[in-house]
């Protein structure tokens, strides 16, 4: 059944409305109406221009992007999609995400910078040599993320950021070490340059790790240099001096490199200038001194904020929590876990992922980052691999596409008949499978040539084994084809009158529904040897789309269609009062079912920085409950005039102004004597 769509048919004439020639014309007018809206209204007044909050719909390039997107959707609907699928999307039974990119590319990829940097790489517009310092590592990481972003429609992720940057730190340390060593020897001895060269040459390749006391390690080998008329004491002192100075200098340079990394990812435009790359980085488990230095300085730079103390929006940062590595006070990276929580309390990031969650832990091999679960951007998870079970790894893999099922609609259709609900769900799941495969076969016909960076530079797994005009069908099978869902809470309300926060029976039914969906994706994966998976959809543009249509059809139904949005995936409704621990308990079982991605949020009140114990308790409880990926939200406001960051109700607690009011420079100058981050005005 599933292989029927192997040959995707495309027609030069519209598939739909061929009988009534007039209706095509009507549709084209519709498209032109959209173009008029895009052109003549401000984003402020037009919802369509705010579909994605991180794209500025008011700019020329933002509008150009929307022209392309809307035109493409029209083309896909009328010329590409099979009738039943086009209809299912249009009437809101399902939502095909990133439909505008249907004919073009895949969602996202986990980029292995270690592999990419080895021997240098090309962006398609120029060749870059292998980087040799932490500054270049950080700059090239940004370039790689940006280059890949321009070839895919979803976010870009680095799953092993600490391990990848650690190599740059080793190189930087080595440079600094020899710089200081030479200075010391030149001042303290009468050795010729050429003689110092000889010492450096002998040890150059050996100074590869950061140690404050390198001399003990190499003591015996120094005896060879006794003929040079330098004493062991001098050599020892030179080593001590150089290694201590080099550690300090490397630390400082790393901070600046991480600061630049965060600044760059918030400022460099991609996709013709409409947005910055949607970037995520995972880290936290590298226990080497170099890896620790990366994590520490990245967190410190994030905490410090951007130029005027603003909170960095990108990259999404994910701290990987693992027992024995950073979770308990005796673990080597526990200090970094602490720092991560402090940073998150003032900057929202990092989020926390849990390698010890049973469904993540079963893949974990100590010391092998390829087996440490990574999450992308909003929540995507790619780890299992039915196509190649020997490579259940993270690097070079990603999501191909995903489609969301409108669960509340099925519940409304079933009128409380649970058996009927499952029948309808079954149909919708199969329709989604067909649609995902239809799209997959289009993706498979693409060639390496279509992705000069993603495939041409070996970012995607095994792409380095293909020639430029080879089709990518085979290697795409490492990616995931994913079904998602929205509004479990509204679904349960419509079916039995209560949602899973309100009753045990509802939670049981909720788990039954999602387990059923997972069972179906597992079956499909087994049958096709393709990585079908289930995701707790990260709905942004979608959050309001389904409910508007359902309200029209079924009327306003309390706590089902009466709000302007459907509740995200399996979440307890945002408006429902519930204790943090209870929310975690109830949502955790869904994490193990949604192998394509998931996230749980807790909303905290007031200034979290002043209550770090509560913060840590929640994160630890998430880990103990089997949550895969979680984060804590809290109000985070900033007054750009006086630089205050924290909770602002009506007036700024620092300068006392209300929104829109002015404040005297005299006052700001006084404040600057107390606080360091008050902006300077001329």
């Amino acid at each position: 059944m599933l292989t029927r769509y192997e040959n995707v048919k495309m027609t030069a004439k519209p598939i739909r409305n061929t009988q009534k020639s007039n209706s095509v014309y009507v549709n084209e007018t519709e498209l032109m109406d959209i173009y008029k809206k895009l052109t003549f209204t401000a984003a402020q007044d037009e919802d369509i221009k705010r579909e994605n909050a991180n794209i500025d719909g008011d700019t020329a390039m933002g509008t150009m992007l929307k022209y392309g997107s809307e035109g493409s959707k029209f083309f896909i609907d009328h010329y590409v999609l099979p009738e039943n699928i086009a209809q299912a999307h249009q009437n809101g039974d399902i939502h095909i995400h990133d439909k505008d990119f249907y004919m073009l590319t895949e969602t996202c990829c986990q980029i292995d910078l270690i592999k990419l940097f080895k021997n240098g790489f090309s962006t398609g517009h120029g060749y870059l040599r292998e980087p040799n310092s932490i500054e270049s590592y950080s700059a090239l990481a940004c370039i790689a993320i940006q280059a890949n972003q321009n070839e895919m429609h979803g976010g870009q992720s680095v799953p092993n950021f600490d391990y990848a940057m650690a190599d740059g730190i080793k190189k930087t340390f080595r440079q600094e070490f020899w710089k200081f060593f030479r200075i010391y020897m030149q001042i303290k001895t009468y050795l010729e340059e050429i003689e110092i060269d000889a010492i450096q040459e002998k040890f150059e390749q050996k100074i590869v790790i950061i140690r404050l006391h390198l001399f003990q390690v190499y003591k015996e080998q120094f005896e060879e240099f006794l003929y040079l008329n330098v004493t062991q004491d001098i050599l020892r002192d030179a080593f001590c001096f150089a290694s201590q100075k080099a550690v300090k200098a490397t630390e400082r340079r790393t901070y600046q490199a991480m600061e630049a990394f965060v600044h760059n990812l918030n400022t460099m435009n991609s996709r013709a200038g409409a947005q910055v790359p949607f970037s995520s980085i995972n880290y936290g488990t590298d226990t080497s001194e170099e890896g620790r230095m990366v994590i520490r300085n990245l967190l410190l730079a994030t905490k410090a904020g951007l130029g005027n103390g603003e909170t960095p929006i990108f990259p999404v940062q994910i701290f990987k929590v693992k027992e024995g590595i950073n979770f308990n006070s005796k673990d080597k990276n526990y200090d970094l876990f602490k720092l991560a929580m402090e940073t998150s309390a003032s900057r929202f990031f990092p989020n926390f992922s849990f390698i010890d969650a049973p469904f993540n832990k079963k893949f974990y091999k100590k010391g092998d980052f390829q087996t440490e679960v990574a999450y992308m951007g909003c929540r995507t998870r790619v780890l299992e691999n039915v196509y190649d079970p020997k490579r259940q790894t993270i690097c070079g893999r990603g999501n191909l596409s995903f489609t969301t099922i409108n669960l509340p609609r099925l519940a409304l259709k079933a009128h409380g008949d649970i058996e009927l609900f499952f029948k309808l769900l079954d149909k919708m799941i199969y329709l989604s499978f067909h649609q995902l495969l239809h799209r997959f076969h289009i993706q498979c016909r693409k060639k390496v040539r279509n992705y000069p960076f993603l495939m041409g530079q070996g970012i995607w797994i095994d792409s380095e084994k293909l020639a430029i005009d080879d089709e990518i069908a085979k290697i795409l099978k490492h990616g995931t084809l994913t079904i998602g869902f929205i509004g479990l809470a509204e679904t349960l309300k419509a079916l039995i009158g209560v949602h899973h926060g309100e009753s045990k029976a509802a939670q049981e039914l909720g788990l039954k529904i999602i387990s059923y969906m997972r069972q179906k994706t597992d079956e499909a994966a087994k049958r096709t040897k393709l990585n079908f998976s289930l995701i707790a959809t990260p709905a942004e543009g979608l959050s309001g789309r389904f409910v508007l249509m359902d309200r029209k059809q079924y009327g306003v139904i309390a706590e089902v269609t009466d709000r302007d949005y459907y509740t995200n995936s399996f979440h307890i409704p945002v408006y429902y009062p519930i204790k943090a621990y209870k929310k975690i308990q109830l949502e955790a079982p869904y994490h193990s079912l949604t192998n394509g991605g998931h996230i749980t949020y807790i909303e905290l009140d007031g200034d979290v920085c002043k209550n770090m114990d509560a913060f840590e308790t929640i994160i630890r409880y998430m880990k103990e409950s089997g949550i895969g990926y979680g984060a804590i939200n809290h109000p985070l406001d900033r007054d750009p005039v006086c630089g205050y960051v924290g909770v602002i109700d009506n007036e700024c607690p620092r300068c006392g102004r209300k929104e829109g009011e002015s404040v005297s420079i005299k006052k700001l100058n006084e404040l600057r004597e107390i606080y360091s981050n008050v902006p300077i005005y001329n």
Binding site: A53, T311, I313, G544, R563, L604, L636, G660, S664, I665
Partner: protein, 71 residues
């Protein structure tokens, strides 16, 4: 030596003048009119620096969010 002292005098005079001018200027000048507060919120996993760019549905959702007690 002599020249140096004269120079320093000039510097001082200028500095004083500047200070006088500036303090008068400062008393008058105000900043921040029509500048709003930046309110950062998370939306489907990504952060957004301003609520202005939220779509209507997400604005409604953000407004409804309640806090979760810790006890």
């Amino acid at each position: 030596m002599y020249q140096f002292i004269i120079k320093e005098d000039t510097v001082l005079n200028n500095k004083e003048k500047n200070e006088q001018n500036q303090s008068a200027y400062i008393d008058q000048k105000k900043v921040g009119a029509n500048v709003g507060f930046a309110r950062i919120r998370r939306i489907t996993g990504y952060l957004v620096g301003t609520l202005d760019r939220f779509n209507n549905a997400k604005r409604a959702e953000e407004k409804d969010r309640v806090k979760h007690g810790c006890s």
